[in-house]
């Protein structure tokens, strides 16, 4: 493959991921909003201030893999965790949910927001009506007790990460409205630590070169200024998924972001460019498609990766890397493995749309083909300046107009040898 077309394609993918980024002003606005909620919870007459409320973002906002909504009419989901320093013998899930809920409702009233926060299964959703393009989902939580830490450690999860585990609320949980030891658990901070660890080599290298380029110290560079090929690849994969499943029969079964993010991060080998990262990730994901036929068992090598597993009862298993009890694929077996099939279908789409597309002759064709899958305007922006095209002079010639070349006195091919 020609190196320059690969490097131009890489540039295109990089630009594309930049186009998918939340704009800096939106980012600042979102940051400002969640800090405002934090200040509200800590204000003097707050009802929860005595529990040292700690509010922090989780999910793609924290991981640097957030993408713009497909249309301006859709909203960003900003996921927050609100941790109160309480224990499982002091409150029930329901009490915790309502304590946080009261404060968020007051916050909405105090800011004369038009719609009241919605009480969702696990979180409170705040809708900002002022064209801010956000939903803010706040997940009430308490630090998780030692018992659960011990439990996770017994599953072989590093102690660094279990310390960050939290217990959360779930309206459908059997213990929702009574004091109990068993709560749903989560570990968003631990997950973020794990994720950063997976891309550390590239992250540190890019941070260093960015700091040098602005003649600043590494500690002065905000993390969000640096984006690794892994983060870019995930953004591209997520958008590709959104676009490919849009209006498709299996739209309801499209792979969830957590699965895309987790598998990508596990497969990432610190490649230095987006294309190589994508290629590696997708080709490896594809090897697991064999699991769709129940008689097939994977070779030792694939099994030892513990990437995607299938239990003898047919249940699919993609563990949360910081909480093996959480199975991201717990619904993949339903309706004759519909979600699993949608996932592997998507993987073959990615292969052909993003990897094999390089077989096209030039950047113009590549960019046009990407335009079908990512939207024309965003692809145009991303390919600006990458190629100048002089179209073939005459397009209307019939095939047989090509004059025959008569070969006279041909050279004998040579080769440099020494290989």
């Amino acid at each position: 493959m020609a190196n320059d077309i690969v490097s131009q394609y890489n540039k295109l993918l990089e630009n594309l991921s930049n186009e998918l980024d939340i704009s800096e002003s939106h980012f600042k606005q979102a940051e400002e909003r969640y800090k405002a909620i934090g200040r509200w919870l800590l204000r003097e007459d707050s009802t929860v201030t005595e529990y040292d409320p700690d509010i922090y973002p989780q999910g793609s906002f924290l991981l640097g893999t957030l993408i713009k909504p497909v249309t301006d009419a859709e909203k960003y989901d900003i996921d927050l965790v609100c941790v109160l320093n309480l224990t499982k013998d002091q409150v029930s899930q329901k009490q915790l949910k309502e304590m946080v809920g009261e404060e968020i409702k007051d916050y909405a009233k105090a800011n004369s927001m038009k719609s009241m926060p919605e009480n969702k299964r696990r979180c409170w959703t705040l809708n900002y009506a002022d064209g801010a393009q956000f939903h803010m989902d706040t997940l009430p939580a308490i630090p998780d007790g030692d018992s659960f830490k011990n439990f996770l450690e017994s599953k072989g999860v590093s102690a660094n990460w279990t310390e960050l585990a939290i217990a959360i609320t779930d309206k459908t949980h059997p213990n929702y409205d009574r004091i109990a030891d068993e709560w749903p658990c989560s570990n968003p901070k631990g997950y973020a630590e794990w994720f950063k660890e997976r891309m550390k080599t590239q992250f540190d290298a890019q941070l260093k070169s960015f700091a040098e380029s602005i003649r600043a110290g590494i500690e002065d560079v905000p993390e969000y200024k640096v984006k690794t090929p892994l983060q870019r690849a995930i953004q591209i994969l997520k958008r590709h998924r959104d676009m490919r499943f849009l209006g498709h029969d299996s739209e309801g079964d499209k792979p969830i972001s957590m699965i895309i993010t987790t598998l990508s991060a596990k497969l990432y080998q610190n490649e230095g460019d987006v294309y190589s990262a994508l290629k590696n990730i997708v080709e490896q994901m594809d090897t697991y498609a064999a699991l769709l036929s129940p008689s097939v068992s994977l070779n030792e090598n694939l099994r030892s990766q513990h990437l995607i597993e299938r239990k003898p009862d047919g249940i699919w298993y993609i563990p949360n890397p910081v909480n093996p009890e959480e199975n991201f694929a717990d619904r993949w077996h339903e309706n004759n493995n519909r979600k699993a099939r949608a996932f592997f279908q998507w993987v073959t789409w990615v292969r052909s749309d993003l990897i094999e597309v390089l077989r096209q002759a030039d950047m113009k064709q590549i960019s046009e083909s990407l335009g079908h899958h990512f939207g024309e305007s965003i692809t145009k922006k991303a390919s600006a300046g990458l190629y100048i095209v002089s179209a073939p002079a005459i397009l209307t010639h019939a095939k047989d107009d090509i004059p025959n070349v008569e070969i006279r006195n041909p050279s004998k091919p040579w080769s440099i040898g020494g290989r």
Binding site: I5, L386, V389, S390, A393, E406, K412, W414, G418
Partner: protein, 257 residues
């Protein structure tokens, strides 16, 4: 639009009139590349072949003084088939490629005279398992064979002696011609040597010479008289460069004018 750019545009237009599947693209750093589908019918003696290939012609910095670099990008031509380590075609011995290009220094000339014959060779080889126009051996041996044919001499040693004059930039018209027919160089191989000097640069001639010399040295066919101090110095100097450039292909060595 500078002169080079204008020349490239003009040459591309001429090429595209005949081959409609090609496009001219220009990316960063003033690099120009012709890409796309090259579909051709070609005949050699009584053999006709029609085929199409995804190709890429990278236009050199000093085009049209030096020929473009041609590659196939559709994955049909394996690395083992007369390609440089960077994947570009080894169309022929480097000097021959240049001399041919100098006769018709345009994209169309290059495609018709060199790229299509090369692709033709490949198609024929795939069908019949042999090369229709023959092929040069790899490396120094092939270069030596090429020069020996070009000088129209029968001994590799004579070829080396003639090449030595070129490589050491030591052409003296009144000396006896190394080919041994008793004439002075200027009345014998001199004209050809002067022509070669006009095509190959002062880096490429020693490069070719050293390749041939190294080949002969390895096969133990070299008389002591040829291993002068100068030659040994050249070998040392260029074999380092040789290794470096081998990785990128001979095309990496270009004349800076």
């Amino acid at each position: 639009m500078d002169d080079r750019h204008a020349t490239i545009q003009k040459h591309f237009t001429e090429l595209a009139e005949q081959y409609h599947g090609l496009a001219l693209t220009g990316g960063d750093y003033n690099t120009w590349i012709v890409r796309g589908l090259l579909e051709f019918p070609a005949t050699y003696e009584d053999i006709s072949i029609r085929d199409k290939f995804q190709i890429e012609l990278s236009i050199t910095e000093d085009y049209p003084d030096t020929p473009p670099i041609a590659k196939e990008t559709g994955g049909r031509i394996p690395k083992e088939f007369h390609t440089n380590p960077d994947g570009s075609f080894c169309l022929g011995a480097p000097l021959e490629v240049r001399m041919k290009f100098a006769k018709k220094p345009s994209l169309l000339g290059f495609v018709n005279e060199q790229v299509i014959p090369f692709l033709f060779s490949f198609c024929y080889f795939q069908q019949h398992g042999r090369m229709p126009f023959g092929e040069l051996p790899h490396g120094g041996k092939g270069i030596l064979e090429y020069y020996t044919q070009l000088f129209n001499v029968t001994s590799d040693i004579v070829t080396i002696e003639l090449l030595k004059i070129l490589a050491e930039n030591n052409y003296k018209g009144h000396h006896d011609c190394p080919c041994g027919n008793g004439k002075r160089i200027r009345n014998c191989h001199g004209e050809l040597l002067r022509q070669i000097i006009s095509y190959q640069s002062q880096t490429e001639l020693p490069y070719d010479y050293v390749q041939c010399l190294t080949y002969l040295q390895k096969s133990g066919q070299i008389p002591k008289s040829l291993l002068s101090k100068n030659s040994m110095n050249l070998i040392t100097k260029y074999s380092q460069g040789l290794n470096k450039n081998e990785k990128r292909g001979v095309n990496a060595i270009r004349i800076k004018k």
